[in-house]
């Protein structure tokens, strides 16, 4: 399964084809450490400013902090639960969390979501105004509400992780920090609710994806999972990730993050692409499909079938998916088709599919990847 697809498919929210395209990968290879420091400074300022706004607006809250029954050493948790409050819409949650906890500047967030900066600034203003005017409390939810509030937080953290993950090309130190930040927050969530298996699954998934960070970029371009030098994979992260997956699955209930983490673990444990347990991966995708019948996951399943049972079979499954026409504008559908056609030596059809995919893809790195595949086909 190619890295570009793996990363994109993994980054889509589990609830299907997203309205917003994948994170934009900057092409500038050089970001100085001073940039990282500036961002850290900005992050601290924004965190303080949000806290200032929320705290000073309501002096009664001060008293509440004293009588809080749960004491959280990590102030960021209070912030993230506030940023991810259900009274804020999804976009506001992400933007607010990224701005106050992720240390991203407004232009960077705007680029990531392919939105004009003014639109994004407006979203931030409206979100903060909602917090103030409706008095969304600056606190961690009471135990009774914690589980449901956690789901929103998990989603936001995973989005942040993917912003960093898909942006980590070349010497993007800042973006690596973003992954580290997401992982750190995921760890805190695990400490907070150790019995919540999806927290464990989320952390495991992040660690396992992140373990590939040093192998993903070769000559400023994304290397596919097949092409990656696996000796560069972070074995410590893999060991921890795999252990967490096993721990979560032992605790019983399996959720989407855990399943995705289990799939990532299977990839991570394969010493070479040939050793990948595609059959198990196909089974896991079937389970994931039961929880969430999204076309993306169905595509993933078809690819796993192709790799485990036979390319023809996988291709016919993909063609079945395409019959309804619902995936016609989805570049990954055509890219997956193209890849399988290529493996079957149906070069003409593969080329046509790559072209279609490249025409539909919006992420520049992915477009480049597809064009490269096309060129490779033409050379042979």
């Amino acid at each position: 399964m190619q890295e570009a697809f793996a990363s994109a498919l993994a980054s889509w929210p589990v609830h299907g084809i997203p309205g917003n395209p994948a994170a934009w990968i900057t092409t500038t290879a050089q970001r100085k450490l001073i940039d990282a420091a500036r961002r850290e400074q900005t992050r601290r300022e924004k965190q303080d400013s949000l806290r200032y706004e929320t705290e000073t607006a309501w002096s009664t809250l001060e008293a509440e902090f004293e009588e809080a029954t749960m004491h959280f050493p990590d102030d960021r948790l209070r912030l993230i639960f506030t940023c991810c409050h259900p009274a804020l819409n999804g976009e506001a949650q992400v933007v607010l969390t990224l701005r106050t906890l992720g240390g991203l500047s407004t232009p960077e967030i705007a680029r990531a979501f392919l939105l004009p900066e003014a639109t994004l600034a407006q979203r931030l203003v409206r979100a903060k105004r909602k917090i103030q005017e409706a008095r969304i409390p600056y606190e961690v939810p009471a135990p009774a509400h914690l589980p449901e509030r956690l789901v929103a937080v998990q989603a936001v953290l995973y989005l942040i992780f993917n912003e960093g993950y898909t942006a980590s090309s070349g010497t993007e130190l800042v973006r690596t920090d973003l992954c580290a930040e997401a992982i750190r927050l995921a760890r805190v969530l695990c400490e907070l609710l150790p019995q919540d298996t999806e927290n464990i699954g989320l952390l495991a998934l992040m660690l396992l994806q992140d373990s590939r960070r040093n192998a993903r970029v070769v000559d400023a371009e994304l290397a596919t999972l097949e092409e990656q030098d696996r000796s560069l994979w972070d074995q410590a992260a893999i060991t921890e990730g795999v252990a967490l997956v096993e721990k979560a699955l032992r605790l019983g209930s399996a959720g989407p993050y855990q399943i995705q983490a289990a799939i990532a673990a299977l990839h991570a444990q394969a010493g070479t692409p040939g050793e990948t347990d595609w059959r198990q991966i196909a089974v896991l995708y079937e389970r994931l499909l039961e929880m969430n019948p999204s076309p993306v996951i169905a595509l993933n399943h078809a690819v796993a079938v192709a790799m485990s049972e036979g390319i023809e079979q996988g291709l016919s499954e993909i063609d079945d998916l395409g019959r309804s026409g619902a995936l016609d504008h989805y570049y990954l559908f055509h890219a997956a088709r193209a890849d399988l056609l290529r493996r079957l030596d149906r070069i003409g059809e593969a080329a046509a599919a790559y072209e279609r995919a490249a025409g539909l893809a919006t992420n520049r790195v992915e477009v480049n990847f597809l064009i490269r595949q096309l060129e490779r086909l033409r050379k042979n």
Partner: protein, 135 residues
């Protein structure tokens, strides 16, 4: 801060059986009692059914009167609560307890902060409100 909870329902009292109507009525009563006991209730009233609505609009500077609600919607305003809550989460807790009347379907509650009257202080505004309630 005061919040208004707007109670939206898809079924008017006419569409309910006597049993259901009674169940909802006593549900509201119990809630009002609890809220009053805790000193948070500032007001609560049902609205007469949607069939009694009249809309007034301005057209060319004149008042135009029509029968019915301002818009034909599936859900209509059935009543309201006003409660003093320390923050939105507390308001949500109360709102979640408000019985809403629909056959097997729950209605919904819209929560809106009441920012208070600009001219007077909040305390004055509340005093005025209380006076109006006790009339």
């Amino acid at each position: 801060m005061r919040y208004m909870m707007l109670v939206y329902s898809t079924v008017g009292p006419d569409g309910l059986s006597a049993e259901e109507a009674e169940r909802i009525r006593s549900g509201h009563w119990k809630l009002m009692e609890e809220a009053r006991r805790k000193g948070v209730l500032q007001g609560a009233e049902p609205l007469a059914p949607i069939t009694t609505a009249t809309t007034v609009r301005s057209q060319n500077g004149k008042a135009v009167v029509t029968d019915g609600p301002f818009a034909e919607t599936k859900e209509h305003l059935a009543g309201y609560y006003i409660m003093e809550c320390k923050n939105l989460d507390e308001a949500i807790e109360w709102a979640a307890k408000i019985p809403t009347a629909c056959h097997g379907m729950e209605g919904c509650i819209e929560i809106r902060p009441l920012p208070g009257l600009s001219v007077r202080s909040e305390a004055d505004a509340r005093a005025g409100q209380a006076a109006a309630l006790n009339g």
